[in-house]
């Protein structure tokens, strides 16, 4: 499903002392099947933006369209249920998503609600807990009696269980251990490639943005600061600093090496081991 924001603004608690304008005239287009990574400083409006994508928030002004859906919804006849079935959203805090008595019930809430046959339930449950790498022993526990990273996995499993066409993921790897984080990113990447799932993901890991994004959107103070391919975004180091972001460790290393030793190494996603060989051969040439 394609997603379009047109001049979208959003204000929390308008006309009260708590009024806070969180988005200002945000416009962009996400083609169906894209993998888009949104980055930005703390408080820049990322979560506010994502919550428009399944109608949890409706624009204070401007328009959002998600496939055939239009926000703001003006008619009472339009139900959000179909939209929520097709757009799965994982919140920044998994606790905000979890509510049921057991992990099993929690994960299967979506599929039940959206009318999946009873006989397919167990299979669906097994499928998603394996995808997210959740320990099977945990399924009869209360979702609140889990470690932070385990809750994260349950919340994401619950989103995947409804088989949405669009995945909206708000810092989905915060709280995951390093291996789980890699596996989770690989999972999103393979769902995107193999099942053509439109993916919108917020992260503070620039390395992941570089590796997985087709396209990036940089937010700053509720506005779009820049958008483009990761290589182009990360080419503009000064602009990134302005918005509290840093280069991925790998690209930063290339810059520093080139500057210090007057080399011409170029980043092509090579492994640190391959880079080591390149450094050695170029430093060698240099001194001979």
């Amino acid at each position: 499903m394609e997603i379009t924001f047109k001049e979208v603004s959003y204000t929390y608690y308008p006309n009260t002392p708590y009024e806070k304008k969180a988005l200002h005239n945000v416009s962009f287009h996400i083609p169906s099947g894209a993998f888009v990574v949104i980055v930005g400083a703390t408080g820049s409006g990322k979560s506010t933006l994502l919550q428009h994508m399944n109608g949890l928030l409706q624009p204070s002004s401007g328009k959002v369209s998600i496939g055939d859906y239009q926000l703001p919804i003006t008619s009472k006849k339009v139900s959000l249920k179909e939209l929520r079935k097709r757009v799965g959203i994982a919140f920044q805090f998994p606790e905000h998503q979890l509510f049921d008595e057991t992990v099993r019930e929690d994960i299967l809430f979506g599929p039940k609600n959206f009318g999946i046959p009873e006989k397919d339930m167990e299979h669906r449950l097994q499928e998603v807990i394996h995808l997210v790498g959740l320990d099977e022993e945990l399924i009869e526990r209360s979702p609140f009696e889990l470690s932070g990273g385990q809750m994260r996995k349950v919340a994401i499993a619950g989103v995947l269980a409804s088989k949405p066409d669009v995945l909206v993921l708000d810092e989905p790897t915060a709280g995951l251990d390093p291996i789980s984080r890699v596996e989770m990113m690989e999972l999103f990447s393979s769902l995107h490639r193999l099942e053509n799932i439109t993916t919108i993901l917020v992260t503070h890991h620039m390395e992941d943005a570089l590796k997985y994004a087709d396209y990036m959107i940089v937010l700053s103070n509720g506005r779009i600061h820049s958008k483009g391919k990761p290589v182009d975004i990360f080419n503009n180091q000064d602009a990134l600093k302005e918005v509290q972001l840093l280069l991925p460790e790998s690209i930063d290393m290339f810059h520093k090496l080139n500057q210090t030793f007057d080399l011409n190494l170029s980043y092509r996603g090579q492994s640190p081991f391959d880079l080591a060989k390149e450094i050695i051969s170029s430093l060698g040439e240099d001194s001979s």
């Binding site: 470690s147 932070g148 990273g149 994260r152 915060a174 709280g175 789980s180 290393m253 640190p272």
Partner: protein, 276 residues
């Protein structure tokens, strides 16, 4: 000083041990990073130290006092803790009240209170949010407030449970250097639980927890040298810079001292380069 002596804990009598005969001594003013897979017991350890959970077997000592149900409130006063989910620690209706709450509890006088609150909020770049509701902040802003609430108390022991997991890259660095600055100014024991190895490297000591036990314990330099693969094998691959340094060493460049960050790597390479 924190000491665990054969400590075991489980959440329910019928469960397996979550903390399993744990032995661990952390010296006064040491900076310790705790890493471990999801569910390994890190947060549980943090809650045992602060007496939010009570251990079933063994003994825990905090600053030489044995932790018991009777003295738990006194011990807790020495500890500042930032929870993995900052929402679980907010008590005030506004950011100001929230930070004031802890100060009041520790008998800080009203006259100096506001000054302290303003000062710490400035240090975490959140002063403009002083009258806002903590629950209505963004995730990273909540983390900044939680860090401020704990640090303003100037505790003898500061426990950060993934306290920067939702901060942007610059914000994360700022928070770590703030902790560092405060530690230099007036030392305290620091326990930081993290999944970021780049953050763990900043500690004096890294401890790896697996199934409620310590499975690896050493200084960052010990654990990250080129011939030590223990961290890798436990599921903690080295950061990019260190992998690069290992690659250089494998190819015959010997870097002295073995670099742990970008600056050290560049300067070790520079030295080699000059020698040629």
């Amino acid at each position: 000083m924190i000491k665990f002596q054969d400590v075991s804990f489980r959440y329910r009598d019928t469960d397996a041990w979550v903390i399993d005969s744990l032995n661990l001594t952390i010296k006064e003013n040491q900076k310790v990073a705790i890493i471990g897979k999801n569910g390994s017991g890190k947060s549980t350890i943090a809650k045992l130290i602060s007496g939010l959970l009570l251990h079933e077997l063994g003994h825990i000592y905090v600053e030489n006092d044995q932790l018991t149900p009777e003295n738990l409130l006194d011990i807790r006063k020495k500890i500042g803790m930032v929870f993995q989910n900052p929402e679980n620690q907010f008590v005030g209706m506004t950011v100001k009240e929230d930070i004031a709450f802890g100060l009041e509890n520790r008998g800080v006088k009203r006259e100096v209170m506001l000054e302290k609150i303003v000062d710490i909020l400035e240090q975490v770049s959140m002063l403009e949010y002083i009258d806002r509701e903590p629950q209505h902040l963004s995730g990273g802003q909540k983390q900044r407030i939680a860090i401020a609430s704990a640090m303003v108390l100037e505790p003898k022991i500061l426990i950060l449970d993934e306290a920067t997991s939702m901060l942007d890259p610059v914000g994360r660095k700022e928070m770590m250097s703030l902790v560092e600055t405060l530690h230099n100014r007036k030392p305290f024991t620091l326990l930081m639980i993290t999944h970021e190895l780049n953050e763990a490297i900043l500690a004096d000591r890294i401890i790896v927890i697996e199934k409620g036990k310590v499975v690896l314990d050493g200084t960052p330099r010990e654990l990250f040298t080129h011939h030590n693969h223990a961290l890798d094998e436990l599921g903690f691959p080295a950061p990019y810079t260190i992998q690069l340094a290992k690659g250089l060493e494998k190819n015959g460049f010997s870097l002295e001292p073995f670099p742990l960050d970008q600056e050290e790597l560049i300067s070790a390479l520079w030295k080699l380069h000059l020698k040629r």
